[in-house]
């Protein structure tokens, strides 16, 4: 009896996001035009910079790795009905775990160090997400509020730890001591020449595995079943004898662990040290990635790639076209987030009308 007819699946998963991105670029193009630059040239540079050559593509994949983990951290919690805005802080605190284990065992071969850094980072990140989980489960504090606040707490806490405790004597910049080269996760460029000296590293493989793991967990495990039940209908979840407080705490911890892999990518490999504010907004981009990807691993992978390309292409653009400032690139990125995330359903109703009309016309 519903008056609105749902969209065909391909429209929902492919056409709608594509239209949103195109719309964002059209408006971005107008802005570029307004400052007297050629938008087509700008798009060409962005695409070329992101995918056109090995080094650039490597950078794109490096950013993509971050966004996949942050996106999964949001997606996983979303399936359990929670809006985790905290990957930023969870990744930041995860970095502490990574650097602590790396510095404690500095000099260990990376093949042993890599799993240790994953575990230590995951534990720290999980802990940082677990606290809001407990507060939600036991005290009813809303997860959106607590995870946002925990981002701020993480910033203050980590600033203190980095500048006052981890920063070695005689170093000017705010960062920890470096990890030995042998202990750092190797770049993909060491195995595949194409990527050159780009920062994409073995953590990218971990990200692909994480996508598969999340898919299995959500749709093929008992835990995922309970998680989705909770996300759709908490009352029926209690009816089913599933403890929602337990589910909330475990799911948040898992989300935090996923977010912490951003730190493995950065601290454990590229930087080889813990730098102040190293997450640099990747956690927040994860929220947009998760929404654009409809919290599905394939969607998350594709939208993470899009944002990775935007980051890398944008830097290339700022370099090649001095008329387009860094701020303008942030504006274009923000437009994509705005159109795919916040206003992602703007075109839904016109499309529904269009397809409903098409259906009745072919029906009569």
């Amino acid at each position: 009896m519903s008056v609105r007819t749902p969209l065909p699946r391909w429209v929902d998963v492919a056409l709608l996001p594509a239209l949103n991105v195109i719309l964002a670029f059209l408006i971005g193009g107008l802005i570029v035009l307004a400052v007297g630059q050629n938008p087509l040239q700008a798009v060409g540079i962005m695409i070329g910079g992101a995918f056109g050559y090995g080094l650039g593509f490597g950078y794109t994949l490096y950013y993509t790795t971050d966004f996949i983990f942050a996106g999964l951290a949001v997606s996983l919690a979303y399936h359990a009905g929670m809006f985790n805005i905290g990957p930023e802080g969870q990744a930041y605190v995860g970095g502490l775990g990574v650097i602590l284990v790396a510095l404690a065992l500095n000099g260990l071969h990376w093949s042993l160090m890599f799993p240790l850094m994953i575990v230590a980072g995951a534990l720290f990140g999980a802990f940082w997400a677990f606290i809001p989980g407990v507060l939600q489960a036991k005290r009813g504090s809303h997860i959106v509020i607590t995870t946002i606040l925990f981002n701020f707490i993480a910033v203050s806490l980590m600033s203190y730890i980095i500048t006052r405790i981890l920063k070695p004597e005689g170093v000017q910049s705010d960062e920890s001591a470096p990890i030995d080269a042998i202990s750092r996760i190797p770049r993909l460029g060491e195995f595949i020449g194409l990527f050159g000296r780009s920062p994409v590293n073995l953590t990218f493989i971990l990200a692909i595995l994480a996508l598969g793991f999340v898919y299995w967990l959500v749709w093929h495990s008992k835990f995922g079943y309970a998680m989705r039940a909770l996300g759709h209908n908490p009352t029926a979840t209690r009816y089913a004898g599933i403890s929602s407080s337990r589910m909330i705490m475990i799911t948040m911890a898992l989300a935090g662990a996923l977010a912490a892999m951003v730190a493995v990518n950065n601290v454990g490999s590229v930087q080889g040290r813990l730098i102040l504010n190293f997450v640099n907004g990747a956690g927040f981009v994860g929220v947009a990635v998760a929404f654009m990807g409809k919290a599905h691993p394939i969607g998350v992978a594709l939208s993470a790639l899009l944002f990775g390309a935007l980051y890398q292409g944008g830097q290339e653009l700022a370099f090649s076209m001095p008329g387009i400032t860094k701020e303008m690139i942030v504006t274009i990125q923000a437009l994509v987030i705005l159109f795919t995330g916040a206003m992602g359903d703007m075109l839904r109703i016109p499309l529904e009308r269009l397809f409903a009309r098409g259906a009745t016309e072919s029906g009569t």
């Binding site: 009896m1 519903s2 299995w216 835990f223 079943y225 209690r238 009816y239 089913a240 004898g241 403890s243």
Partner: protein, 555 residues
Amino acid sequence: MTTVNTPSQGLETASASTPAIELRGINKHFGPVHANRDIDLVIRRGTVHGIVGENGAGKSTLMSILYGFYTADSGDIFVNGTKQNITDSRHALALGIGMVHQHFMLVENFTVLENIVLGAEDSAFLRPTLAKARAQLKQLATDYGLEVSPDAIIEDLSVGQQQRVEILKALYRGADILILDEPTGVLTPAEADHLFRILRTLRDEGKTVILITHKLREIMAITDEVSVMRQGAMVKTLETSKTSPTELAEAMVGRRVLLRVEKGPASPGKVMLEVKNLVVADDFGIPRVKDVSFSVRAGEIVGIAGVSGNGQSELLESITGMRDQTAGTVFLNGQPLSLDGDDGAARARAAGLAHVPEDRIRMGLITAFEEWENTILGYQDSYGSGPGLSIAKAKATAKEYIAKFDIRPSNPELKTANFSGGNQQKIVLAREMERDPDVLVIGQPTRGVDIGAIEFIHNEIIKMRDEGKAILLVSVELDEIRSLSDRIIVIFDGQIVGEADPATADEGALGLLMAGVTEQGHSPGPGTLPDHVTPIERNLTEMSPKDNSAKDVSP
């Protein structure tokens, strides 16, 4: 606004023989669904006209077209003999058509008077409107026997009184034709009787009443004419005095149905479920179940009768581990059941208690899940060893239940929201009944379920009893409680106020108990039915179509 006759003008111009409403060739599509097909309907002035049909028969759609919620794809509407194109509900009201919805549209913390003038204020200042309304209300109250204190706050009123406010609201706006959508669903038998008296008065005063219901008993008791709808089409219109519930039920379903629950005598065994001194509070901490104790034996059905909101929901929820208990113990098979924490339902299930919840959409199903996923809700941990979920095994179970309970459409991968109410209920029933529980707790087994499915569901419940299961039944349908139960417990204000044998219980006495009147008298209370010529006819009338046994009479 176009030129619209006021109701009084309409009355003057229309001669007595002009029908109040005439519909010709009404069609309405919702996407691929043909909700109303070529409906012709004549509603004579000054009558109570019943419209019956199963869920999805198109009754509500038709009335929504008449009330201006929807526009018909084709067809004509004549009000008092004049062709009208009703654009919205304001327009319908201007034509003198008023509607009393199933779910009341009242502002809970406003007074009766404020609710009545809401949206019909005729000046920017409230005071003169209220003063005028007060006088008019007094007149309406004396004319139609609709006494409600104008200064009472809505939330302090009983459901029956709130309904009277809704009727007053429509009359205040000049309604001449009154549409009531399932008006008795929330009323006690006494309140329903009061409503019928009001409707008779309205009719005698020249108003036209359209009554949408699925209870044949009400049709027989109050209407002058009745129209039967099935699958979007108008089957026939009959004079109530010349038809019978059997004939109506047959016309509704399209095949013969037996209006009786067939069950043998119970043979109760040992006590399976025992509740001792149970105290349960609602979400706001207000006690709703107050020191309740009772027991259910193997092989018997115990029905809990009561007007909804008297603690039966909280009672069911606490027994099945969905709500924390303040005090008291539940024993299952002699063993105390620990229901603490938010996973108490899992322990109740493990101990052999199955639960068909009152509100399947909110509690018993996850409508966004595919059908097979709901087949294992609550039993998900037994599918697959280790952390993985054995989807193949779950789908096999789903297919088995679909075949056994004739769940349609027979596609386990279809989203549960796309199943009809009756089929959703079957999904829940199959899941809970097929696990071979010792105790089955069922709330509202046939709420929103079609006649055909009701027959089946009742039969399955009886079958469970005959297999020696202990069954606790809660329903707001007194008829259902009476025809299924072997023992009736009456609950009022969270306390058990009486027990009755369904074979001998008098509906009037039960109705009084449900209303909290504990003195047992034999005076014909307000819950009694109108007189009928033969005992058989009376018997048939008492049976609503909700109490069917499974067997069709084979031709």
